[in-house]
């Protein structure tokens, strides 16, 4: 949809949301409730839904029953409930994520509203959430909740008078930790790219189309599925709206302290693998399922030496958490008999061979769907990055919250670093004259919504690929060395500037090894290979 309002970064405050009770809903909503052992509280949850101000003919409730051993029946749930309430059985898999997804698949509404089976919603909660989805197609609305002891409520029978929550008026309550983030970021308006990390908690809603585009809940996750989905929604350009008027009550005290550390330890391994935005949980030097940055280079028509020099330089970045997509007509490389040196496909064949064993390099014919949080598009194989270049460029983008960084090389070619979420947002709100598949056509819009900047190539650390220094690994040739001497040479300050303590340690080591000869000449930093050959020769 191209005539919807444009939200800059996560500043949803510019959206003109109507006041509650003063607008006409038109979109249908499915409230999806994952249920497991929920018999005790579900009647109150349904009664709360029965009291909603949202038009009944636009509201359906889909309860995903996750307990095949003890199937849930509507008949056993006493009390009022919305007219269009039904139960769907989870037939394969288990867990909240799986149940939510099952419910989503069965849902018929334009909007999906998650609600846990222990949440009592206030009468205008659904209305509050839905108004955003009438303004844009990429909102993810997060409601507000308090944790309370449910006993005062359970002492009464469920009622659809819309006043059940009043029983908690003077009750002790706790708030969810995300509220601290809301307080700090003007209810997420100032949270920028970090807004997605608050996609936790049970009352959230989004358009069905956005849910499908993001790939739906990861049904294999047992915990942390919200954060994983939140990341994928952000990558589709979602705007995270924190609506304090969408109020609900969690029927049960918060157990945050009790097992939270264990929960975090459990989550981190699953989530760090899938969510590059959780940079603090990732470690240097290894790969993850979803890379932080994807580097794209079209190698068609390019000299293979230049391509290999450039790609090797990318792979040598201090930022190892990356993936490289090389675009070429790979399917045209045949195995027919031909002189290897006269092969027309020699250059791409050599490139393919060079990276056959590099899991980070992927060969493709076209760029395809963005695979990382950022995408670096190299214009050619003439300019190669130095080790700190990629890390610095991405960190600059992170710190500025920008959507695009353009790097101007001395010959006028331009490398681009694109923020996936920014280009997804721009594609959604661009006017009809823009081709959403051509990123460059979206640049002006990305600048308007997220910001962009130019930097100079040499400043960023790019050097000509023809002359960039690519250090080789250490040589291994030579006759067999004495192990004790070799070990000393390889340890301590081998190659580094001399330090007095180290020299003493080496003398001590020498004495321990029983060397009785005259004192070895003092170690000089960076001894030449010739010197060590001579020393070896003496033995």
């Amino acid at each position: 949809m191209s005539d919807q309002p444009r939200v800059r970064r996560n500043d949803w405050g510019t959206l003109d949301a109507p006041a509650l009770g003063r607008w006409e809903p038109t979109r249908s909503v499915s409230v999806v409730i994952p249920a497991y052992g929920a018999q005790r509280l579900l009647p109150y949850v349904l009664a709360g839904l029965a009291a909603q101000t949202y038009p009944a003919h636009l509201l359906e409730v889909v309860i995903a029953d996750d307990d095949p051993g003890r199937p849930l029946e509507l008949a056993e749930l006493s009390g009022p409930r919305p007219e269009r309430t039904r139960i769907v059985r989870v037939e394969t898999g288990w867990g909240r994520a799986n149940a939510c997804h099952t419910g989503a698949l069965a849902a018929e509404g334009e909007v999906l509203h998650w609600l846990d089976a222990d949440m009592l919603v206030e009468p205008d909660e659904v209305e509050a959430q839905l108004r955003w989805h009438h303004l844009i197609d990429h909102a993810v609305v997060l409601g507000h909740k308090w944790f309370v002891d449910p006993d005062p409520l359970l002492a009464r029978a469920p009622a659809a008078d819309g006043r059940m929550h009043e029983v908690f008026a003077t009750a002790e309550r706790e708030r969810h930790w995300v509220e601290d983030v809301w307080d700090r970021t003007d209810d997420l308006r100032a949270a920028g790219p970090r807004a997605l990390r608050t996609h936790v908690g049970a009352t959230a809603s989004l358009r069905r189309t956005l849910y499908d585009e993001a790939g739906g809940m990861d049904t294999g996750l047992r915990l942390g599925e919200d954060i994983d989905l939140g990341y994928r929604l952000a990558e589709c350009g979602a705007v995270f709206v924190a609506d304090r008027e969408a109020r609900s009550w969690h029927l049960g005290r918060s157990h945050q302290q009790s097992r939270q550390d264990e929960v975090n330890d459990y989550n981190t391994h699953f989530l760090a693998d899938r969510v590059p935005d959780l940079q603090p949980q990732r470690r240097r030097g290894r790969l993850y399922s979803v890379p932080y940055i994807e580097v794209v280079l079209d190698v068609r028509g390019r000299d293979h030496t230049a391509v290999i020099a450039t790609v090797d330089s990318v792979l040598a970045s201090s930022l190892a958490d990356l993936s490289v997509t090389l675009l070429g007509d790979w399917s045209r490389i045949t195995e027919e008999r031909t002189h290897p040196l006269d092969d027309e496909q020699r250059a791409p064949r050599l490139v393919r061979a060079a990276y056959a064993g590099e899991p980070r390099v992927v060969l493709a014919e076209s760029p395809g769907r963005r695979r990382g949080q950022f995408r670096l598009v190299l214009p050619n194989a003439d300019w190669a990055p130095t080790p700190e270049t990629l890390g610095t460029l991405v960190l600059h983008l992170e710190r500025t919250h920008h959507g695009l960084r353009q790097v101007l090389m001395a010959d006028g070619s331009v490398a681009r670093v694109e923020r996936t979420a920014a280009y997804a947002r721009a594609a959604k709100v661009a006017g009809p004259e823009v081709d959403p598949d051509d990123p460059e056509g979206l640049d002006d819009l990305v600048d308007e919504l997220f910001g962009s900047w130019w930097v100079e190539g040499a400043d960023a650390g790019f050097e000509p690929s023809a002359t960039i220094r690519r250090p080789r690994l250490r040589g291994t040739a030579g006759p067999a060395q004495d192990p004790a001497e070799s070990w000393r040479e390889l340890g301590g300050t081998g190659g580094a500037p001399q330090q007095p303590g180290a020299k003493q340690a080496r003398r001590k080591a020498g004495r321990k090894a029983g060397r009785k000869g005259p004192e070895e000449p003092p170690e000089r930093p960076g001894r030449s290979g010739i010197g060590s050959l001579l020393r070896r020769g003496r033995r």
Partner: protein, 544 residues
């Protein structure tokens, strides 16, 4: 080791005359030293030392225009209770040879003493010391002598021998003066005058684009360089409704951003804009223009002349030198000249290099303004094109403009204003805002403004035509003519001043099909202060 103020009197060679103004207390007076206040009768004696002690540089400049007869003395000295730096001078050739010069800054003040081999005329020496404080603005009477005004009007101008053409507070029936050939004009001051204020001391030099603290209250007292220096690191000064108009005007002349009641005639600045360095500086420029044109000595004298119906020294006439080899750029370039305002006498010398300008187009864009068309053959060396344009120019001041850069409507007026208050020989603007056309990006570059001695953009160079001719004009070189001229002016001992460049945007464009490899330079870390997508000039360009 610097002597403290108290011991200055003790070192004077007797007999010594000490003239003191208010605010300069040197302590107990020893034997052999005679003290007199400014305006008091001075004993008619021969002095070995004459010392003038005043509060600050502003007081020094005012005091020397009303000195009593001081005769000659071997030692001539001045003392300022507070100063922004030491007081020095240039020796005039008619003085006796100098034996020694001491210039110190005790306790935030200044003490300078010249010792001559033979007694020198004390009054003129003191005048010369005062002339070299502040910026070297051309002071004096500017062709109109005024007396009787209850505000200081003649900074460093000595008027005892010149009859006044205007007398304030005088009777309407003053007798005809034999030298003037008519009676002096009698004027009465209207209301409480604010000005005039000394633009040699109160000017934008030293304006800071960044700030270390937020808005501060209006400081009390007369506007002086020290007062201005104390608030240079503040984001703005808050002006209350009952503020002293002189202080406010003085701060405005110096370009100190003002909030609250602000300065009359200048739109107040939005508080959000005050946080943006560019907007804050734009506001400062508007304040400077308004205040300098209203309250500087030069402006005041012109106002008095208009009221009296007399002539004062004219503002300089300007010749714009506009060389171009691109017929397709002509209309654009003419528009930049046509929009200039605030310059009374302006002529354009259009040097078309390799083509003939269409006189109809020129007339259409420039209306009634004076234009000289100078077509030159395509093989003329570029420096010679400018030389020919200089020769064809008739104005007092020459400004070179480029054919593809953007100029706000106040650029010429701002350059002339800067030339006046800086007293520099060559004035220009920095190429601070640059539009990189091939990548459609505007860059604001780092670098100082309102300072001496730096490089200025070639498309804004402003200097007296006589000086340009004296240094040999533009050199006969095919490129980098601007850099050569800057070097030549410097080599001849001329000073270069760089004013603000917010009304000027340099355009970098591709030249045919060759990529401009210099474009990346404007995007380096050292260079960039800010950048925007698209064409984003400052508001002072008044684009669109």
């Amino acid at each position: 080791m610097l002597p403290d103020a108290g011991s200055i009197l003790a070192d004077l060679a007797a007999p010594a005359l000490v003239l003191t103004g208010p605010g300069a207390d040197l302590g107990p007076v020893p034997e052999g030293v005679t003290c007199a206040g400014l305006g008091d009768q001075v004993p008619d004696e021969s002095w070995a030392t004459v010392l003038l002690a005043v509060a600050d540089e502003a007081a020094l400049r005012v005091a020397v225009s009303a000195l009593p007869g001081l005769g000659r003395a071997k030692h001539v000295a001045c003392y300022l209770a507070s100063a922004t730096g030491p007081v020095t001078t240039v020796l005039r050739p008619e003085w006796p040879p100098l034996a020694g010069l001491v210039a110190e800054t005790p306790d935030g003040g200044a003490h300078t003493r010249l010792t001559f081999r033979r007694p020198a005329p004390a009054g003129p020496v003191l005048v010369e010391l005062a002339r070299h404080s502040g910026t070297p603005v051309a002071t004096g009477n500017h062709g109109l002598v005024v007396t009787g005004a209850p505000v200081p009007v003649d900074p460093t101008a000595v008027t005892e021998e010149v009859p006044a053409a205007v007398v304030f507070g005088g009777r309407a029936d003053l007798p005809e003066h034999p030298v003037l050939g008519r009676a002096p004009v009698a004027l009465h001051l209207r209301g409480e005058p604010v000005g005039p204020l000394d633009e040699a001391l109160l000017n934008p030099v030293g304006f800071r684009r960044d700030w270390g603290r937020g808005p501060v209250p209006l400081p009390a007292g007369e506007p002086t360089p020290e007062l201005v220096a104390a608030v240079r690191d503040a984001q703005a000064v808050v002006v209350p409704d009952d503020a002293d108009a002189r202080t406010v005007a003085g701060l405005a002349m110096a370009g100190v951003p003002l909030v609250g009641a602000g300065y009359p005639g200048v739109d107040p600045i939005d508080p959000a804009d005050l946080e943006d360095p560019l907007r804050r500086e734009e506001h400062s420029v508007r304040l400077r223009r308004a205040a300098l044109r209203e309250h500087s000595h030069l402006a005041w004298r012109h106002q008095v002349a208009r009221r009296a119906g007399l002539r004062a020294a004219a503002y300089p006439s300007v010749s714009v030198l506009l060389p171009t080899r691109r017929p397709e750029q002509l209309a654009f370039a003419l528009d930049q000249v046509a929009r200039q305002r605030g310059v009374a006498e302006l002529e354009l010398v259009l040097a078309t290099h390799g083509f003939d300008a269409d006189p109809g187009l020129v007339r259409e864009r420039l209306g009634a303004r004076s234009v000289t068309l100078l077509p030159l053959p395509a093989d003329t060396v570029f420096g010679d094109v400018l030389r020919a344009a200089t020769d064809a120019a008739a104005g007092d001041v020459v400004v070179k403009m480029d054919d593809d850069d953007w100029y706000g409507p106040d650029v010429l007026a701002d350059l002339l204003l800067a030339k006046h208050y800086s007293g520099a020989d060559l004035v220009g603007m920095p190429a601070e805002l640059v539009y990189l056309e091939p990548i459609r990006t505007t860059v604001r570059r780092r670098g100082p403004s309102e300072s001496f001695g730096a490089v200025v953009a070639g498309g804004t160079m402003t200097l007296d035509r006589a000086l340009l001719r004296a240094v040999g004009g533009f050199r006969s070189v095919p490129r980098h003519v601007d850099a050569r001229l800057l070097e030549d002016v410097r080599a001849a001992g001329g000073s270069v001043y760089r004013t603000q460049g917010l009304g000027y945007v340099l355009r970098r464009t591709t030249h045919g099909h060759t990529w401009d490899t210099g474009l990346g330079y404007f995007l380096t870390r050292q260079s960039v202060a800010a950048q925007w997508r698209g064409f984003r000039p400052s508001r002072l360009l008044e684009a669109g």
